[in-house]
Amino acid sequence: MQDNIINELYQVIGKENVLTDKEDLICYSYDATSYSHLPEVVVVPSSAEEISLVLKVANKHRMPVVARGGGTNLCGASVPIKGGIVLAMHRLNKIIEIDGDNLVATVEAGVNTEKFQQAVEAKGLFYPPDPQSAKMSTMGGNVAQNAGGPRGFKYGVTRDFVLGMKVVLADGTILDIGGKTIKNVTGYDLTKFFTGSEGTLGVIIAITFRLLPLPEAKKTMLAVFGDLMDGARTISSIVKNKIIPVTLEMMDQETMGLIEKSKPVGLPTDAAAAILIEVDGSEHEVERQMKKIEKVARAEGATDVVVARTEEEAAKLWEGRKAAFGCMALSAVTPITEDATVPRSKLPEMVKFIKDVAKKYSLSIPVLGHTGDGNLHPIICTDENNLEEMERVEKAIDEIFKETLRLGGTLSGEHGIGLAKQKYMELEVGQDGLNLMRQLKKAVDPNNILNPGKIFLQETEQINEKA
């Protein structure tokens, strides 16, 4: 990078917050995928004003800028594929306000997701979105990726809780959008526009979220199946019976085996599948739902339905579930998590399809997912160094996506597009949809400096796929 740009950055944010040594750059070159690319500089800001000044410098010099929270996304979204500046957001870590009277809270973008959840729960309040990476992701990253999680089935995803935010635009403008009210129809819904934009439209500084009262009671149960399809049918059946538990997380035998190998929590590894179910509400409501669920599950062929007796027992099962993706790492160098999501009624069909594809290409593809939403996470356990296998992986992914779309589903339920799923974008949104997105991006960020090369490319743009 040219020295004059570095000098300008020194001036606006202080030398100690501008990192240029190769050792530093390496540490901000990756996320939780296997993509990587060195930035030219890492900047560690602490306020909207500083970020605004940094963006002004970047915009003047047409330097790419990639905001980075926990670097835990699963689609290459925070990899600075075109070099430029990485904005490390960790220092913006204040919970600004938890307003119990209005059931809202405002946090800075770098606040850790789990810390935020704990802080609101300590006040008897509830922020439901629960990406399984909550311990290490940031609220800004959650909003930028529109993260979901198991509880999405009952409560929705991050987007459903965002009321307002402070963003810095590509030219350095600091903008407050949305507000503190649940109802707000003043103009276009800009908060939703920025939510899920993967850092391509603006840098999120702070977010105001809607909260709920903490439910009075909750219980966790595990329904166990001798046949994977029985499990898949149970999910569809619970929904058909108009029961809305908080979560319906299915894990197949392979998944449970891998979890137990690395983090034993007592999952039934001899069963073909199990569904981890959480219900919440009033004590009475919880009891009623559990009985109904058990009945449905048994009718669909559940061999066993066990209820966690204590909070610790429940927490342990959830620890296992949270560790699932990581546990794949014990058996595979490159676990690729897919995120195909289908209408709930198509779930059994999709599960079967994935298992068939795995067989066809001789791949190990444990299946788990937030199945209540029809959101599946088949995890392809592979090794990026095995080029022959990677070719089969590519083909399998192609088939899975095409089938997802054929069933009326979507490429990504919650992990986003980033670099990983770009080539399928047109398949889902069509040429016209893509063009509209390109125009919107151009209007907000005419110089294409904000996380360029992500989600889709501008007409003349190219990226180095192998990077």
């Binding site: 040594d21 190769k22 050792e23 530093d24 390496i26 540490c27 901000y28 070159s29 990756y30 996320d31 939780a32 995928t33 560690v44 926990g70 670097g71 835990t72 490390a88 960790h90 220092r91 870590n93 850790n112 789990e114 990476s133 311990k135 290490m136 992701s137 690395s262 983090k263 560790a323 993706f325 990581g326 546990c327 794949m328 790492a329 014990l330 160098v333 490159t334 676990p335």
Partner: protein, 410 residues
């Protein structure tokens, strides 16, 4: 010990999930990617793949790891970052030698008992004559970390003790440098407790430093030399167990087999390592100790040394000891097993980071409102005592066996 190259595959199993960010104490206070396992592993991987030279900056980042193993416990892929970091330091020593200050500390002071003694004596003298007040500000703070140095070492005191009481059983005791020079009262308490439970204690005084500082800073050659001397020191002890009250010593003594791998003494190292036991574990699991009748009417909480809870998997036994003492009320501390930031000389080499980690620990200790803080490692004890003094609290840090000893009549 394993060379860095042999960890290449294990490093590749880091899937960059970031889970270590949630637990790494250094990351918690520095909030930068190079301060967490994921970043360290990436730097090492790039170096192994020839994409990064072994630079001083990389060495600094590698040095920032306190070796607490919190990340390993939490890592889905079970990547042994602490061990990989040690091997990386060894690689640096191999290629670039020891940095000057480490060389003085490891080769001149810690390996030679006389010099260590002299260094501490000079410190005592400097303090006595208030010469320490003349130190530059940054050094003055570091000097304050060290506790009051007692007039007489344990070895001095031992000359007046009867260790052979003709008890039916006997156990070897590895005397750590820190106990000898700074906390002789812990060894005295250990002897008392064991004798009250009908065990005699054999304490060879020609032992050397256990080699932990040399080992973790990559000076494996000196560490192996020290290991051999220590094995020889116990040659004639005729004991089945060798215990220590120092968690750091214990964790490294248990590695002597591997530290001497390929050496003529490898087998002896393995046999020696198999005898090593932490004193808390020994008292509960082997001695099945009985506390005395005296009441100790105080409240106590406990800090788990990383080298005990995660390196040796001992966490229940010290608590059992504390709970067994009549009158003593045990209060669990939140995050009791989180690192205190002491880590041997980490608090001297990385004072600011170490103090931030320490302050979090002390906050949790304070919340328990316990009168006494017990811990099972002299290195933690030095750090925690300093933390208590910094926070204006009563400096009441002891080893669990000291409280147990108080329960017996003299």
């Amino acid at each position: 010990m394993k060379k860095l190259e042999s960890y290449h595959d294990e490093i590749k199993h880091c899937i960059r999930c970031g889970a270590c960010q949630a637990v790494c104490p250094v990351f918690e206070v520095m909030e930068r990617e190079m301060a967490v396992a994921r970043g360290r592993l990436r730097l090492i991987r790039e170096a192994l793949e020839g994409k990064l030279d072994l630079t001083d900056k990389m060495r600094d980042y590698i040095d920032l790891c306190v070796g607490c193993r919190l990340c390993v416990d939490n890592c889905p892929a079970k990547v042994n970052t602490d061990q990989i970091v040690i091997s990386a330091r060894h690689k640096f020593v191999d290629v670039k030698g020891l940095p000057f200050l480490h060389r003085i500390m490891l080769e001149q002071i810690l390996s030679k008992k006389g010099n260590f003694n002299m260094a501490l004596k000079s410190l005592g003298l400097a303090r006595g004559t208030r010469l320490n007040k003349l130190l530059p500000e940054q050094l003055k703070k570091k000097e304050e970390i060290l506790p009051t140095i007692p007039q007489r070492t344990f070895v001095d005191k031992m000359k007046e003790m009867t260790l052979d009481t003709g008890a039916p059983k006997k156990v070897g005791f590895f005397l750590s440098c820190m106990d000898n020079f700074m906390f002789p009262e812990v060894v005295e308490a250990a002897i008392k407790v064991l004798q009250k439970n009908d065990w005699d204690v054999v304490i060879p005084t020609d032992v050397n430093c256990c080699g932990a500082p040399h080992h973790v800073y990559g000076d494996w050659e000196t560490a192996a030399k020290l290991a051999k001397k220590n094995i020889e020191a116990f040659q004639d002890a005729e004991v089945d167990y060798i215990i220590t009250d120092c968690a750091t010593c214990g964790s490294v003594l248990k590695e002597y087999g591997e530290m001497l791998s390929g050496d003529a003494m490898e087998q002896k190292g393995k046999e020696f390592a198999a005898k090593i036991m932490d004193i808390n574990a020994f008292l509960i699991d082997v001695v099945k100790m009985k506390p005395g009748q005296n009441k100790v009417s105080q409240t106590v909480t406990y800090h788990d040394p990383c080298h005990l809870v995660r390196h040796q998997m001992v966490s229940e036994q010290p608590r059992e000891i504390l709970q067994a003492v009549d009158g003593l009320e045990f209060r669990e501390c939140s995050d009791a097993d989180r690192c205190c930031g002491g880590a041997g000389t980490y608090n001297i080499n990385h004072y600011d980071v170490s103090m931030k980690i320490l302050d979090k620990k002390i906050e949790n200790v304070k919340d328990t409102t316990a009168d006494i803080l017990a811990t099972s490692c002299p290195a933690c004890r030095i750090q925690l005592s300093y933390g208590m003094r910094r926070a204006g609290l009563n400096d009441m840090v002891v080893h669990p066996v000291e409280l147990l000893a108080r329960s017996y009549e003299d």
